[in-house]
């Protein structure tokens, strides 16, 4: 194996670090607040009227109330306040970009530029409740109705739980081996340690009446028309299975990979030392996926990790906090660079040719000036698309399923939510809100249908 002095091995290699390094690098990003920390932080909440944080939360969690419950020594009551609105409140506490949601709205920003740490407080109470296995909800009397949910991601799980609460039976059809969707496969490892996504699925389904069938893919194993024929209602909660391509020369070279696959592999690997990583890594994109891939490349021991984004810092979908997290981990973020071609040597990646970009007349253009960044591994994180088959005559717009305010699709008896629909932000917390609200709509529709016909005067 080629060695450069005492420096790191060139190429894509596993085992770049010691076992202790791997453990430290992939430990919990923010360990849970202890009781004292939670009390000190909860004391900072002003219990605002019509609290801006609550309005900023896509699931409208009563944040002042749950914080006051922590402050008064009632973490379980606090957890219930959270779960009432968001049964995946535990994961949201870990992965929500709170700096652009609740914490951005906190009045303490105006007061002293330091919001109440709402996300950490939410984790404090939800962790306590989940560790104690406290279930706050029970199923109503069985309705005899069964609803099919496609996709066991945040939207599907939230819908399934709410439907189960209403006494319905739920069958969740999941294409992958494990439930959880992006929570299981798409979140950076250090944000959801100790198999949290799987534990949360268990917690959510413990209410009963929810059957998850893994390895069941829409379009391959069943179609939407099969479901509408067999079930009383259908909720579609699929994610974005398609990955955008670069469409440039060299994309097929060994070492060019999709960032989402890299992130999923990291999550599934019990032993991180088996994961190969380049000595020099380039990540293409400006969103959370790019940041997660870049940071974790660094944590796996890559010597040099560069994010190339074709627009400016202010255009990046990744929040300033996430960008800072990346740079604090030694990732270099370069703006106004677009990939032009991938340079190979002996069939593997050797570098990437990039072109500087600029905005002219409101349009992004290449300036013609180019340069080469040496790389042995390139991750593509330039967006995902909804790609699914077996949906029949379902109405789409811009590649996503069309729904109304309650999550109803163009086909009667079929609802949808999560990344597969065209509305809302592509966040776990938005998917939860959509799944929950669609479930309420389904329950209402089934209840109305179950009413005996009343005489009309």
């Amino acid at each position: 194996m080629e060695r450069l002095g005492n420096g790191p091995k060139a190429g894509i290699e596993a085992g770049r670090l010691t076992a202790a390094d791997y453990e430290a690098n992939f430990a919990d990003l923010h360990p849970r607040l202890d009781r004292h920390e939670a009390l000190v932080e909860s004391d900072r909440c002003y219990f605002c009227y019509d609290a801006p944080c609550m309005t900023a939360c896509p699931t409208s969690i009563d944040i002042p109330l749950f914080i006051r419950q922590i402050q008064t020594g009632n973490p379980l009551g606090s957890a219930k306040t959270i779960f009432d609105q968001n049964i995946l409140g535990g994961m949201c506490a870990r992965v929500c970009p709170t700096e652009t949601l609740c914490e951005q709205a906190c009045v303490r920003n105006t007061a002293e530029d330091k919001p109440v740490e709402i996300g950490k407080l939410q984790r404090y109470s939800t962790d306590i409740a989940m560790e104690q296995g406290r279930q706050f909800y029970s199923r109503k009397a069985p309705t005899g109705k069964t609803i099919a949910v496609v996709g066991a991601g945040p939207a599907g799980l939230a819908a399934a739980h709410r439907l189960a609460m209403h006494g319905h039976s739920v069958v969740v059809l999941e294409a992958r081996e494990k439930a959880g969707g992006l929570n299981e496969y798409g979140i950076a490892t250090y944000k959801a340690v100790d198999d949290f996504a799987a534990r949360e699925v268990d917690y959510v389904t413990a209410i009963g009446g929810i059957e998850i069938r893994n390895g069941q893919a829409l379009g391959r194993d069943f179609s939407l028309s099969d479901l509408t024929a067999q079930y009383d209602a259908v909720f579609l909660g699929m994610g974005l299975a398609g990955v955008n391509g670069l469409g440039i020369e060299g994309e097929a070279l060994t070492g060019v990979e999709d960032a989402v696959d890299f992130i999923a592999a990291l999550r599934q690997a019990k032993d991180k030392s088996v994961l190969p990583i380049g000595r020099r890594v380039v990540v293409l994109g400006g969103g959370m996926t790019a940041i997660d891939a870049a940071i974790q490349s660094k944590l796996l021991g890559a010597e040099e990790v560069t994010i190339c984004y074709r627009r400016g810092k202010e255009n990046m979908n990744a929040s300033p906090y996430e960008q800072d997290l990346a740079t604090a981990n030694g990732v270099i973020i370069r703006h106004w660079l677009a990939p032009k071609s991938i340079i190979g040597k002996d069939g593997t990646v050797a570098g990437i040719e990039v072109e500087y970009t600029a905005i002219r007349d409101g349009r992004l253009i290449g300036t013609g000036e180019t340069g080469v960044i040496a790389a042995d591994q390139i991750f593509k994180a330039i967006g995902q698309t909804f790609s699914a088959s077996g949906l029949g005559a379902l109405q789409f717009e811009k590649g996503k399923i069309v729904v109304d305010a309650e999550g109803r699709t163009s086909i009667e008896g079929v609802w949808a939510g999560g990344d597969c629909i065209g509305t809302g932000e592509d966040l776990t917390v938005s998917a939860v809100a959509q799944g929950r609200d669609a479930a309420e709509s389904i329950a209402k529709a089934l209840a109305a249908a179950a009413q005996p016909a009343t005489a009309v005067a």
Binding site: Y46, F47, C48, D50, V107, A111
Partner: protein, 437 residues
């Protein structure tokens, strides 16, 4: 530089900050530390009569309530008077006084309500050459069950009687410490004055149960599962103490009687307020027990700097300055009209002023204007109650602005009258009508 030297009934100290009779003044070790830190004087922890000393509980003696960030707001104790031998205390008092001649040392005394008991202890104290005595008629717990402390302080005739004995049997200045556990503080103060006291000090602690353990259902502090009421002190009692001090300061019968102010004094501001309401000096306990003796440095510099800023040269420029402004409700000017005003630049938009006013007061603050979160006072509804000022987390964000004479009060539709008019003159007052007839 302001002169903050204090002369209280002839007892001189370099500043008006004394430590109250309490655990911090129980022995020479503590008192020496206090003097090193800068305290102007101490009232030594209460001495009992000769013989086997009292016995304290061996479990917890204190309970507390807290504010945000676990700031101690109120402390409750069930500790008794000194549980050390009388002669040990006397010997240490004499020694410390000799070492610290410029500091004030006052002996607190609590012996049975019998002439002989007082007659016996006073010469012993006098022999130590401390500066004066304080009669402990205040402690509401433990000793009161034995006919001492607040059991005496609650009966004006006993106060008068004991003070008289003390004045008869000692040349030392006598400070009578009053209990707040009565209905009208003026009566014990008047009794002390009739007995010839040189001064009163107040307040002693307030009878209290500070909390209940919800697992064991025992009051706190819990001694083996049981609790008894204690004496409450600390920042939470300051408003009660200020009122009692002011009541004595403005009572024609006790007017001019020196007062040593006690009750929740934590900062120089608290001290200045007591002085302004008639206290000749102040005594501190809970603040020292919470933060240590060093806090006196903040008190000394804070008081001195404030006096410099305001041009007050000595404590006499401050003492009693607020007393003429304390009056009865019936004499408050009903033609004075104020409205709340919210500084929009300072407002952080928490909305607490709105919800407090909307739910519990006069519906005078907006929450939304033109679809935007916005908190503004509607003068046509505002009665000027000040609740919004009190619940606002940002100091000086909401202020009360007086309407100048001649301006329209949008709430009543009347023009502000420049003349003073109070309840005794108001047409709605049946007594006023009666007087007019």
């Amino acid at each position: 530089m302001a002169d903050i030297r204090n002369n209280f009934v002839g007892i001189k100290s370099p500043n008006p900050f004394w430590l109250a009779s309490a655990p911090p003044t129980d022995k020479a070790y503590n008192v020496e530390r206090a003097f090193k830190a800068g305290w102007g004087g101490v009232v030594w922890k209460t001495l009992g009569e000769e013989g086997p000393p009292v016995v304290n509980v061996n479990g917890p003696r204190y309970g507390a309530i807290w504010g945000a960030d676990r700031r101690l707001l109120g402390l409750n104790n069930i500790e008794l008077i000194t549980d050390r031998d009388l002669y040990t205390n006397l010997r240490e008092m004499k020694e410390v006084k000799k070492n610290w001649p410029d500091r004030a040392i006052v002996a607190s005394i609590m012996v049975p309500c019998e002439e002989q008991a007082w007659k016996a202890i006073l010469p012993l104290v006098e022999e130590t050459e401390v500066d004066g005595i304080e009669l402990n008629f205040g402690c509401p717990h433990g000793m009161s069950e034995r006919g001492m402390g607040s059991a005496v302080g609650q009966v004006p005739e006993y106060i008068e009687m004991v003070v008289r004995w003390c004045k008869q049997y000692t040349r030392m200045p006598v400070i009578t410490k009053l209990t707040p556990n009565i209905t009208d503080i003026r009566h014990p103060a008047r009794a002390a004055k009739r007995g010839g006291t040189d001064a009163v000090s107040l307040i002693n602690t307030i009878s209290s149960i500070v909390s209940v353990d919800l697992d064991t259902f025992s009051p706190n502090p819990s001694v083996g599962g049981k609790g008894s009421h204690g004496g409450y002190c600390g920042p939470a009692v300051k408003p009660i103490a200020l009122n009692m001090v002011a009541e004595i300061a403005r009572d024609p019968e006790t007017y001019g009687l020196p007062i040593s102010g006690i009750g929740g004094i934590t900062t120089w501001r608290d001290a200045a307020e007591f002085l302004a309401l008639g206290a000749g000096n102040v005594q501190v306990c809970t603040a020292a027990m919470t933060y240590g003796f060093k806090i006196v440095q903040e008190m000394i510099t804070g008081l001195s700097d404030w006096m410099d800023e305001k041009g007050h040269r000595s404590l006499d420029d401050v003492i009693c300055r607020a007393v003429p402004n304390v009056t009865d409700w019936q004499y408050l000017n009903l033609n004075y009209i104020a409205k709340a005003h919210i500084d929009q630049d300072a407002c952080i938009k928490c909305g607490r002023c709105h919800i407090a006013c909307e739910d519990t007061s006069h519906q005078a603050i907006t929450s939304m204007v033109d679809g935007v979160r916005h908190f503004e006072v509607m003068e046509e509804e505002c009665v000027g109650c000040n609740l919004c000022v009190n619940v606002c987390p940002v100091e000086n964000c909401i202020t009360m602005e007086a309407l100048p004479a001649g301006e329209l009060d949008k709430r009543t539709g009347k023009v502000v009258d420049p003349t003073y008019a109070n309840w005794t003159q108001h047409p709605n007052n049946p007594m006023a009508r009666q007087a007019a007839e």
